[in-house]
Symmetry: C2
Subunit: 345 residues, 2 copies
């Protein structure tokens, strides 16, 4: 089943069939009609590869993510796909699993499929692989981790505004002992988030004395929180580098028989769907997947028209207050001193 059979049935040339498929305006309505009927009748679907091969255009965009199991990413994938299909483009999703080796595989897949552009939403990326794309004039867009150059754009997440709002919110509630559970520090994105947090505390003259490292997954948050709880001097509020981590922390706190937000307040980051439904519902900093997806797609899709110069795009983050944050426990200081044996006799 191919274009020739359609042509035969419609009594036209293959060129005409191709033209009607591609919506060329150089076909009379009548012949177009005839061809379309033939297509229907035969149940013909044009072969994507042959199309791409013939035209040199793939209509395919790559989307590289690091962990499809983290709900942040499926939501991102979904938005990105929606936008892409609206523009008649397709999306090839690749999952690196935080594994540099798999990253290499992903890149080669993209290259082999001659994608028209790649959105790299994963944190770490071998520069060598980046040049592979650049050598082939493939537009790129990074999330946070890129530098703007020819054909490559970067999406800058404004972590500061969200984290600032979170710390402000927490501080207003009387907290002064604020901890942060980061992502894996080998990841640049995790570093950026942590720096934003530390910087924010510094600006307010609060010490950043409780820093723990998680892995951006639930278990890591759980363990990190457990470590925080074992410290002599406990934080009364905890910010997490992402919601999965916060959810893990929530569990660890409950396991110790403490409650949120009465004993400890928790703030997440990302605002994944499930965050609204944890117990208690998570106060978190929202990072709109939809906005990121939209910006990323636009950056890729329009870059060739715009002379190929990359750009920097900003995406805001905003605090969403729910129920996991509350007033600092009044006896926090007392508690602390009791534990450390510094109570005045």
């Amino acid at each position: 089943m191919n274009i020739r059979e359609v042509a035969r049935l419609a009594k036209v040339s293959t060129a005409t069939v191709s033209r009607t498929i591609n919506g060329s305006d150089k076909v009379t309505p009548e012949t177009r009609e005839r061809v379309q009927r033939a297509i229907e009748e035969l149940g013909f679907y044009p072969n994507t590869w042959a199309r791409a091969l013939g035209s040199g255009r793939s209509s395919l965009y790559g989307l590289i993510i690091s962990d499809i199991t983290n709900p942040f990413f499926p939501e991102l994938v979904k938005s990105f796909e929606d936008i892409a299909v609206q523009h008649g483009q397709e999306v090839l999703v690749a999952n690196t699993n935080y594994d540099p080796e798999r990253m290499e595989v992903c890149v080669s897949r993209m290259l082999q499929r001659k994608v028209d552009g790649v959105a790299i939403m994963t944190s770490e990326m071998d520069p060598r692989l980046i040049t592979e794309f650049q050598n082939r004039d493939i537009p790129l867009v990074f999330l946070d981790t890129g530098t703007v150059q020819k054909l490559t754009s970067n999406i800058l997440v404004d972590y500061a505004s969200g984290i600032d709002a979170a710390v402000e919110h927490i501080a207003r509630l009387g907290h002064t002992q604020i901890a942060f559970i980061s992502g894996p520090m080998v990841l640049r994105s995790a570093q950026v988030r942590r720096e934003a947090f530390v910087g924010c505390l510094k600006r307010r003259g609060i010490g950043a004395d409780w820093l723990e490292e998680g892995n951006h997954q639930v278990d890591g948050g759980h363990q990190a929180m457990a470590r925080l709880l074992l410290r002599e001097k406990r934080p009364t509020a905890v910010l997490a580098s992402n919601d999965m981590t916060a959810i893990g922390a929530l569990g660890a706190i409950h396991e110790r028989g403490l409650s949120v937000p009465e004993d400890i307040s928790i703030v997440g980051f990302d605002d994944i769907q499930i965050s609204a439904f944890t117990q208690p519902a998570l106060t978190t900093v929202r990072l709109s997947r939809d906005e990121i997806a939209r910006v990323a797609f636009r950056a890729l899709y329009s870059i060739r028209q715009d002379g190929g110069k990359g750009g920097e795009y900003a995406v805001r983050s905003t605090l969403v207050v729910r129920r996991s944050t509350g007033r600092a426990p009044r006896d926090a200081a007392a508690n602390l001193q009791k534990k450390t044996g510094l109570v005045e006799a």
Copy 2:
């Protein structure tokens, strides 16, 4: 950059390059070596489309799911992909969003890309679309919703065993007022799950008096549970058609100031990752994504060798007991009577 340039650099024909790329044994180690060096040097990646076009094989499998936002599916996708790449195959994931129209789009994408087989893990499927695949001799495998025929297999989930174990577990804890929150009843998969539940209760002589319909998402579970709580006669245990629903139910219960499992026990279904980290951790029926993925891939991959006859594969479900289930409240009956005004004076 194409195979010809490589050939030129390596001083061989394009055929030889192609042969070394495909690991043919009809190439001397020396020439192979030479070609490989040329490939390295040029940073050459073979063009997938041309390859598929030339060979007629796509090495591509389709995976159709209904909602990438439901954590069940990303986990399935991940497993399926892992297995596929282990076999040197690729995966094209399509997300229907429960929308029949998008389903059509998904199917046409698969057809256009000439996939070697499709795993249809979504519940509802227009039979017309199925014949599109069958006409083209494309192997299919369904999850629960298919019928075995030439080139098409079906994975039968043994819901009964898991649900039976769940009801047994609940009954042992003294519960007799057991509710079920189903998925959207337009979906066959939701119907199947509900039937398994109702059948199980019947077999035990328990009435299925509390049935509510959710939507397999958190908000639906939340609302359904809210409705259950408003009933005069409240259930003391609730089974949910999937974990997302159960998580929603959990939230609704907490909102009413009740607690799990003291007042009401909850059992989920699927055992998605997050279930281990809810408050309290969810007792649920595990359905192994990994096993489903493995079976599905095998069904597609080997079907042509096996004479093309489809098969029926069974996947078990097993109860995972965590903390959301406990003894039925002793005063359940009393409570009930108080509320309905039937207390003996």
